[in-house]
């Protein structure tokens, strides 16, 4: 249905994406997710040629539309787009908004166009609003009319560009319900969205955009439950990460603790947990310094990850050197710190490979 080959787009010096290859099959519903500013909207606009790509090709139904002698108007008749800001025609009422394109572009006769429009309006649950003007409708209602407007052209594919981002939470539901209905009916669609729950249950496939292109893509199940790559994982789990490295025995532990505290306070982590994080790290560092780096400078790096979604904290502690697991002799009275850590943590694991000890601690 839609295929791109090495699509490339830049604004001046800034590359939005490059070497972007997507392939969307008929009947698929693909969610495009990713942090703001990674080019989701630009991608959609480029697919519809509202922005000219700076390289690469776009194929619709096997036909290249980036070529020279393509009547883009003809292509767009089969190409629906629903925008974040609705963009209904403000001088026309709801019914005229929907019938305008069928009448003027497709040359459908008036009666037929009106009947179809009323059908679509009842589908989106706004039959009574047919004579209202856009400014008299709520945001959610406007977006539903906008969906009906693009459906009136019987498109082969609809691109939803953040359809609920401009709506307040009480109205997103009504719009998402319509989109779900369309997805079930087998319409081919691409949706860029920040509603992760919605993306997860409506999309058959998910594309995660980051670092100027597609960073990871796969079945919704995999992307949401078992993301393979680092940034995807951070994005899906809404992870906040603090990292720190120690390369000298005389490192400033007070400053480290202050930084951890500031990081934690930023994300509203409760005081008890902050103390636990600091305690665990302090004890672990002392333990490693005493056990592993007795006569050499330490090479320690650790990260504290906080998942806003799950409220979990994960400490990943890396130290270079020979294999060293501080948790093997945990009942030893000389290693009170280890006993402390074991008491606080939910789960501890150790792993050694390529001269690197990795210790994961869940709190």
């Amino acid at each position: 249905m839609i295929r791109t080959v090495n699509l490339y787009k830049r604004f001046g010096e800034l590359t939005v994406f490059s070497d972007l290859n997507i392939h969307i099959q008929k009947g698929e519903c693909v969610a495009v997710i990713g942090p703001s500013g990674t080019g989701k909207s630009v991608l959609f606009r480029t697919l519809a040629l509202l922005e000219r790509p700076d390289g690469g090709q776009v194929f619709i139904n096997g036909k290249e539309i980036t070529g020279r002698d393509v009547n883009i108007n003809k292509v767009r008749e089969k190409f629906g787009m629903v925008y974040q800001g609705f963009h209904l025609f403000s001088h026309l009422n709801v019914l005229d908004n929907i019938t305008l394109a069928p009448l003027k572009v497709k040359k459908v006769d008036r009666k037929e166009a009106r009947e179809r429009a009323m059908e679509l309006l009842s589908m989106v649950g706004l039959s009574e609003k047919f004579s209202s003007f856009p400014h008299q409708l709520s945001g959610g209602q406007q977006q539903r009319v906008a969906i009906a407007r693009s459906l009136a052209m019987d498109p082969d594919i609809i691109l939803f560009d953040e359809p609920t981002s401009a709506l307040d939470p009480s109205m997103t539901g009504e719009v998402l319900a319509i989109i779900r209905k369309l997805a079930r009916s087998g319409l081919t669609m691409m949706i860029s969205t920040h509603e992760m729950g919605f993306a997860q249950d409506v999309a058959s496939r998910v594309i995660y955009m980051d670092e100027k292109g597609i960073y990871e893509e796969g079945p919704a199940e995999q992307i949401f439950n078992n993301p393979q790559r680092e940034k995807t994982r951070m994005f899906i789990r809404k992870l906040k990460v603090f990292s720190y490295s120690i390369i000298s025995r005389g490192f400033d532990m007070v400053s480290m603790n202050v930084q951890i505290e500031m990081f934690c306070q930023k994300y509203n982590i409760e005081l008890k947990k902050i103390n636990h994080i600091q305690l665990v790290l302090e004890e672990l560092i002392l333990e490693v310094l005493a056990g592993l780096y007795t006569d050499v400078q330490p090479q320690i790096e650790f990260t504290v990850e906080f998942s806003e979604e799950r409220g979990e904290i994960l400490i990943t502690f890396n130290c270079k050197g020979r294999e060293f697991n501080p948790f093997v002799n945990k009942d030893d009275a000389d290693h009170l710190g280890i006993i402390l850590i074991s008491g606080i943590s939910k789960k501890i694991s150790h792993n050694y490979s390529n001269g690197l000890n990795t210790i994961n601690i869940n709190i």
Binding site: A48, N73, K74, S90, H91, R149, S150
Partner: protein, 238 residues
């Protein structure tokens, strides 16, 4: 032939009404003054309407040049608009009459129409430009996505919306134009203003004649407002 005597009421009121009636007779009825005024009104309306139509066309042209992507067109439109808007229309008229068309055999009315068309054209160009820029471009884009060509999307979406935005300003520009045509007497055209002035000078009662002229201009303004209110009355405003 004094038909307007009041029999009752305050004496001074009676005197006042009598004197007004007298002046009316002297200025408007005697010597067929009203026919002369009608003739002047015709000239004023002719210049105004023709200049407005020509000015609208010129305005549309200047506006399309002004917003075009071709640098030369854009800059030349900018200069022309600035010049025309910045120079007093009376001076423009005199330059055309005494200098540019001095040796031609063009009628003074024709020259006046050119001057007023150019002046109001420049104003209208800016009115159009500001109205066009006030329209949401994303709606145009939405129309393009539905398969409209650039021109047809403009005609179906941008133009009707811009027209609605421009209407009140265009309306006052029209009234402005009508009133500014009162200076054409300077180039020997006998328009409404010149006529009432002449009558006032002849009868020695300039106050009444001139005031009567003002009333006619006022009536034209109301007429213009009425005509504009006819169009688009049934539609709901934006």
């Amino acid at each position: 032939m004094n038909l307007y005597v009041l029999k009752t009421g305050d004496l001074s009121l009676v005197e006042f009404v009598n004197s007004v009636a007298n002046s009316f007779d002297k200025n408007i009825i005697d010597n067929n003054g009203w026919l002369v005024i009608l003739k002047g009104l015709e000239i004023t309306l002719f210049i105004s309407i023709t200049a407005l139509l020509a000015g609208t066309i010129i305005g549309a042209l200047l506006c399309s040049m002004r917003i075009s992507k071709v640098g030369a067109l854009k800059i030349s439109a900018k200069i022309v608009i600035a010049f025309l808007r910045g120079s007093p229309v009376l001076l423009l008229l005199m330059v055309f009459y005494y200098v540019v068309f001095a040796n031609s055999r063009f009628d003074a009315v024709f020259i006046a129409i050119i001057a007023f068309a150019l002046n109001s054209g420049a104003h209208i160009a800016e009115i159009m430009r500001s109205a066009l820029s006030a329209v949401d471009v994303r709606q145009l884009e939405a129309a393009r996505m539905l398969g409209f060509s650039k021109i047809r999307a403009f005609m179906a979406i941008t133009l009707p919306q811009a027209t609605r935005i421009a209407k009140p300003v265009y309306q006052s520009a029209t009234i402005n134009l009508v009133q500014w045509t009162s200076v054409v007497g300077y180039v020997s055209i006998t328009d409404l203003t010149r006529t009432v002035n002449n009558i006032g000078a002849r009868t020695g009662d300039p106050f009444f004649a001139l005031f009567f002229g003002i009333l006619i201009y006022l009536a034209i303004s109301y007429m213009v407002n009425f005509i504009f209110s006819l169009q688009g009355r049934k539609k709901i405003t934006l």
